[in-house]
């Protein structure tokens, strides 16, 4: 078994640390960070349209607040923080919409069906139906985590951010981030075990 970390793809550029964002560099800022912001939003929301819209919103807000950026955090951290706040608001609104639909006895999809989002695997040996079911199960389990736990989990295991980076992004203590991660892993372990049975 490969014991390497799950992913270590994304790193911040050292030039990210700036005080204020000059207007002429804003386009480059979008090019540099839009994929990562879009990926985080898509992983958290599992809604392509919402991820696209909110990615635009992140940069729009960044543009409006660019003169307020004091350089206390990296630009990437600052943008991720904006994205996480937007994702949180979006999920809250979606939950409210769900309850409204429920009250109206609408029998249409409530958004919890993850099957369409699960990647249709290539017909290879390593991607079996069982693996796809397990993937769907963990996606459901991650989706049911609390906002803090899910955010910590995604930033750690999908974005490969260090504990310190997550703490800086979420403006939490390192110990708090570790506790959220530990609880997330504990919950996922339990739910995967329940699905697989004794």
């Amino acid at each position: 078994m490969d014991a390497k970390p799950v992913a270590r793809a994304t790193k911040y550029a050292p030039t990210d640390v700036v005080r204020g964002i000059p207007l002429e560099t804003f386009d480059q800022l979008v090019v540099t960070h839009q994929r990562r912001i879009h990926r985080i939003l898509l992983t958290l929301l599992r809604d392509g349209d919402a991820a696209d819209t909110l990615t635009q919103e992140v940069f729009l807000r960044a543009f409006q607040k660019r003169t307020d950026f004091r350089g206390e955090a990296r630009v990437g951290t600052w943008l991720v923080r904006i994205a996480l706040n937007l994702a949180k608001d979006h999920r809250r609104n979606r939950r409210l919409a769900f309850w409204r639909r429920l009250v109206r006895h609408d029998q249409s999809r409530d958004g919890t069906d993850v099957a369409p989002w699960v990647r249709d695997p290539a017909p290879s040996a390593e991607r079996t139906i069982v693996a796809r079911e397990q993937l769907a199960a963990i996606q459901v389990a991650v989706d049911r985590l609390s906002h803090r736990q899910r955010t910590c989990f995604v930033l750690r295991f999908v974005e490969a951010m260090t504990i310190e980076e997550i703490a800086e992004t979420l403006q939490l203590e390192i110990g708090t981030v570790k506790a959220h991660l530990s609880r997330a892993v504990s919950t996922l372990r339990r739910r995967l075990a329940e699905r697989e049975g004794p």
């Binding site: 014991a3 390497k4 799950v6 979008v30 992983t43 996606q139 609880r183 892993v185």
Partner: protein, 164 residues
């Protein structure tokens, strides 16, 4: 042998921030190795799938950049438009405030002193009159009686030359 790995230790293990004692336990405990492999596979699958799902063509991101650019440029005139609205509202408010402030003392026209003087003259004239205006005919009748003029019905009175 110690108990199985805790959630915290398992998290550290998967996060690759593990301590030596945990690794030593992992080598010795088949149950924890199986559990670690199961979780690691599940998390790797989740991470890989998230990344694959988020993959988009360059054209997609190009379109997204264009939309961001449009929204950013739309926002500028929007701000300016509202600035002009606020400026107009402030100017209007200032005018209204000036008007209301001066409303307590109505503007005097140049003819005001003359009209005041005319009003004063009319009042003096009314005071100095011997009889009120409404009683003026009675005052005339009394004056005629005092002069010895025969009382006539003024409505039917006919000049003497015309009486036949």
């Amino acid at each position: 042998m110690r108990a199985h790995l805790t959630d915290c230790e398992m998290t550290d293990l998967i996060s690759d921030t593990v301590e030596g004692t945990t690794l030593a336990h992992l080598r010795a405990c088949a149950t924890c190795r199986t559990e670690y492999a199961r979780l690691h596979t599940a998390f790797v699958d989740f991470a890989m799938d998230s990344r694959v799902q988020a993959e988009r063509t360059e054209a997609f991101f190009q379109r997204q950049r264009v939309r961001i650019g449009c929204r950013v440029s739309d926002r500028r005139p929007f701000v300016w438009r509202w600035r002009s609205v606020w400026a107009s509202a402030l100017a209007t408010g200032a005018l209204v405030a000036v008007f209301l402030t001066r409303g307590g003392t109505p503007p005097r026209s140049p003819a005001d002193p003359e009209s005041d003087q005319a009003l004063l003259s009319a009042v003096q004239h009314a005071i100095q009159r011997e009889a009120p205006v409404a009683l003026s005919p009675a005052a005339l009748l009394i004056a005629d009686m005092e002069r010895g003029v025969p009382q006539l019905d003024r409505k039917t009175a006919v000049p003497k030359g015309d009486q036949r």
